[in-house]
Structures are given as structure tokens and as C-alpha cells.
Subunit: 350 residues, 2 copies
Amino acid sequence: MTEANYYSEKIHGPHQYFELGDFELEYGITLPNAKLAFKTQGTLNPAKDNVILFPHMWSGTSSSMEIFVGEDRPINPNKYFVIFPGQFANGFSSSPSNTPAPFNGGAFPNVTIGDDVRAQHRLLSEHFGIKRLELVLGWSMGAEQTYEWAVRYPDMVKRALPFAGTAKTTPHDYIFVRSHEDALKSDPAWNGGFYRDQSDVHVGLRRHAQVWSVMGLCQDFYNKEAWRELGFTSLEDFLHRFWEAYFAPMDPNNLIWMGWKWRHGDVSRHTGGDLKAALGRIKAKTYVVPFSRDMFFPPVDCEAEQKLIPNSEFRVVDSLQAHFAMFCLTQSDRDQIDACIRDLLAEKVD
Amino acid sequence: MTEANYYSEKIHGPHQYFELGDFELEYGITLPNAKLAFKTQGTLNPAKDNVILFPHMWSGTSSSMEIFVGEDRPINPNKYFVIFPGQFANGFSSSPSNTPAPFNGGAFPNVTIGDDVRAQHRLLSEHFGIKRLELVLGWSMGAEQTYEWAVRYPDMVKRALPFAGTAKTTPHDYIFVRSHEDALKSDPAWNGGFYRDQSDVHVGLRRHAQVWSVMGLCQDFYNKEAWRELGFTSLEDFLHRFWEAYFAPMDPNNLIWMGWKWRHGDVSRHTGGDLKAALGRIKAKTYVVPFSRDMFFPPVDCEAEQKLIPNSEFRVVDSLQAHFAMFCLTQSDRDQIDACIRDLLAEKVD
């Protein structure tokens, strides 16, 4: 499968595109003709006060979080206008895989969570004229974007719901994300990011999937052979048909550039490195929700940040699926996550 | 530095060698002129009943655990005769790095924990005439060997002290050890295990070190910048001068073949896959001692096995150094580990 096939509307559904023009990135490079892909559900009401923003995780697209929206789901599209914004390097928005020279492939500039959020802010203000958000929520790198929103635009965000992610990337996160990137780069076919087709780097993609399988789930998941309930017949079967199959069609550069963003996420750059001051800016009613066995974002790391957020609560989703609870592979995961969204939306916020 | 330099008595002190002759391995291959390196401290008494066996961990040599022996250390060489046996693929015993064709380098046969323990048993019985051991103890893969000893030769082992290791490798252990191996193999210079000098594979060794740094320690260690106390000035400084420096002089094949052993460790192969029956065989007074933040061998995994061992106790060493508590980099780690050894040696055992 080629990258063109994977990052297509056939697989991910119809997208809209917001033209950012020549977009100056946080690190100084100007990306010409930059674009931000997005999807929406529901209808923006005349007062423009029924908006939920739901950015997506690393490796995802604007379609990744649609499972939480529906008439019988915690976000009802008859009531809310839901925007699923893309992010740079996701394969639909400006990315290594779709940008012309000089910024094609391995020459794509480094992008940050701040760049994503500034682009999203322009979409909301310039394209939709939205001034305030009922809720910003996201998982993993979507949580990083949620924090960036709540710190950067505190008056715009009424409620914030970061699932399984941190406002400042921990050093442990930093090194394991880099080790994931290095697994892709280790394939000679990666060639500094200049390959003809993503499938040329299939060895790197497989290696990357194997490394991901270690921290992406947890000891307990494998001990209990929880993959059986998900329809796999052996550990090896799970490693090939789940992990390798998940990453196989993706573009290595897109994953690497999103990973760079992930590991450099840090809201405290708004306050000269003072995390307490940065999180103290948040005005949103916030639920900080880690997943109990998450090896990427252990609850204790999330709780340390929650304590610095004025109007916040700490909730833990208990799940054997570790970081992947958000995929709602079990009813228990789904019920707990749904409850967090429903409860926060039900909170009265001025 | 070449492999010949690293696996030398200049660095690791004088070794003795026990000639195993043509040694039939568990998987059926016969290794010609096999040898088991070892070191000793203290004097074997005439009754031959003052013996402690202290096998070493993955990546180590017979010198690795000598820090626990001394007149003011928990194992007093004036009282005990301590044998530090080698293991296959450690660079001194028969290994990919020192075996002639046809089993040189990448053609070295797969070896098992059972092969190590059978070789060690021959050393003890044939060379020393030892019939019973006061204590077998070891860390990590040394713990695997300790379990193998206690299950395979239950009447010979009076006390067993496995630190931070399991009797049966968990599936999570299996996949992360394989991912470590793959980091080495990913270097084209590895070339299926046939390279001229270990330093030719330095990129793979560096990559391997980076992957190890993720699971080898823990989130807390990095969050608290505990590397500062160890004399490092930044995270990158620690990654280069500790992790890369540790692995840089080693032989990639030796690490890979020891890793294969690690991930295939399983005492239940003595009882048709029944772990409870295997651990039920143990007659030794046993302390099962995990390290609190160990990401390789979480306490809960060790406790599950401890419950299957008849005359056993469960103790946890609380340490920020995670799996590496055994290096005794802090006084607290040293004190807790020393106490386990002293207490178990003080236990009356028939």
C-alpha cells in the first residue's frame, strides 16, 4: 500500500481544508501554502457557542476520535458542533508526505504543538468566527494540544479534558519517543527521509511496531493474554496483525515528525520554563484523566500536573489496555471514558 | 576498543576455566571443546559445605557480583567459598566472540539457562566435588539461573535468593528483550553476526543503549533527574556516558545470544509447562526480591511466582534505580540488598 492510498478520503472519510497561507512556524521557518485539514460533525448554532474541539493523537487523523460522537454517544451532534482539527504531519494537513520541495520528505521543518494550536486557532477565528469553546479534549498528543489550548487561550476554553497525556513531556517520554523514531530511521531505506514510497521502509515500520508493542501496552495486558479477547490467536499473531498492521501503511516521516512534536511538547515555554505558572493560567474546568496502567503517562505524572491546575479534578480510568484504553476495545474502557466526557459537559461553567 | 580488549582479564580480573569437552546443548547441537569460565573467593572447607554460588546477569561476567563479597560485606570470604560461575555467551565462557568455526559469530548455537546450569553443575560436582550449596543467588538473568538451580537440583540448594528476575519469562519480557536484540541487528554492519570487530557495529550498540535506557530505568528516575547524583550533568550526558559507554565495548553477538537465553527462560519446561508444579519442587528456603520500580520485572510478576514456592518469602527493595538497584549506586540500595543476603544466610535450614 502506498502512502497516497493510506492518507486518502477513501479510508479516512471526507476532509475540509483550511488554507493557512505562508505560515511562520515556532522555530522560525515559514511553510509556504500551509494547510490544516479538519472534519466537523453537527451544526454551528447562530450564537456560535456550541463548539467542541477534539484534536487527535500521534499517528492519527481527524477521523480517529469520531467514535465519541453520535446520538447515543457522549457528544451529541444534534447539540454540539464538533471540530476534529488535523495537525501538521498527519498526512492530510501539511506533512512530510504531501509537501512539495524544498520541504518535502526528510526536509520538512520541525513543527510544534504550538504550531498546531495556532493553526487551529486561525481556523476557528478566521473561518468560523468562533470565540469560545465548550470543551477541548484529546488523547495522548491530543491531550498535549488540549493543554496548549487551555494555557495559550485561557479565555476561550470553558472545559478541558486531557486523556492520557501531559502538559510537559517527561524526560522518560522524550527518550522512548526518540527510540521509536530511531527504529524507523534505522532502516537504510529511510535514507534521511528521502524514499520513493513509504512501503520501501517496511522493515523500519515493522521494527518500529515491535518497539511500540513494548511500552504501548503493559505487562499485565500480555500476562493475561488480553489479546485473545481482541480476536488474536497468539502473541506473535497479535504483534503482526495488530501492531505491524497498524503502522504498515503509514508514512515513516509523518510518524517521525509527529514524534518530534510529541517529545518537545511543553506549555511552560509560555512562562519561561515555569510549569506551575503556565498551568496556573488555565481557566477551564479541567478533568485530568490518565489510564491506570499507561506506561507512557503513568497516573502519578499526570497527577503532579493536575495539582497545578486551579479548577481541576483527577480521575483515573482503570484499564488493562494501558495507553490504548482510548480505542474503547472493551465495554469497560468505553463506559469510563464516556462518563468523563458526559460529566464534564454537565458541569456548569460560567 | 576491540572485543579482545574488553573480554580480558586485565578488565575483569583472573578467571579459571572448566573444560566441558563436547557439550550437548538443550536444543540438540553439540558444542565442541566447550568451556565454562569462573572465579572464586574464599576457601572450600574440607566438608565442602560452605559454598555459595553467585551466577551473573545478562551482559555481565564472573566479576560483576564481586561487590557483595568481602570481610565487611554480606558474604564473608573467610567463612564462605564463593563461586562466580560464568555463562555461555558472556565472552569468557564459550561465546560467539571466542568460538572457532563452524560455531563462530552469528553461527553460534542457541544456548539456554538450562545449559548454563548443567555446565555449572558439572563444574561443582566434577571439579570441586560439591554436593550441596548454602546459597544460590543472582540478579536478573542470575535470578533465572537461581530458579533453574532450585527447580532442577532441589536437594542441592539450601537457600535461594533471586533478585529482580522471574522463573518463567513473561511475554512482556520476551518482546522487549527481542526489541533490544533487534536494535543491534538493525545495524547493517552486524551482517548476520559476521563482522570483523565489535566496534564495527557501534551504531547498533548505540541504538541498543538508547532502547535499553527506556525500560532499564523508570519514569521516576528520569523525572527526578537521579542521574545528577551519579555524576552526570544532563540527560544527554547520562545517555552517552552511562548507557552508551556501558555497552560500547561489548560484543553484539554475545549480547544477542545471552538475550535469547533470557527470553526463553522457563523452569516449567521441567514439568510439561506446569509452573506451579515446577516451583513446587523447590526445597530451598527462598526469598523472592523484586525492586519496586523495575519495569522489566514488576513486583507483582515476582509475587505471583513467590506464591507458588513452598518455603518462601516476598521482600521488595524500594529503589529509584529500578532494575539497576543491584549496582548499589546508592547507600539505600546497598543496605536493603545486603540485608536480604545477610538475613537469608542467617536462616536455619536443615
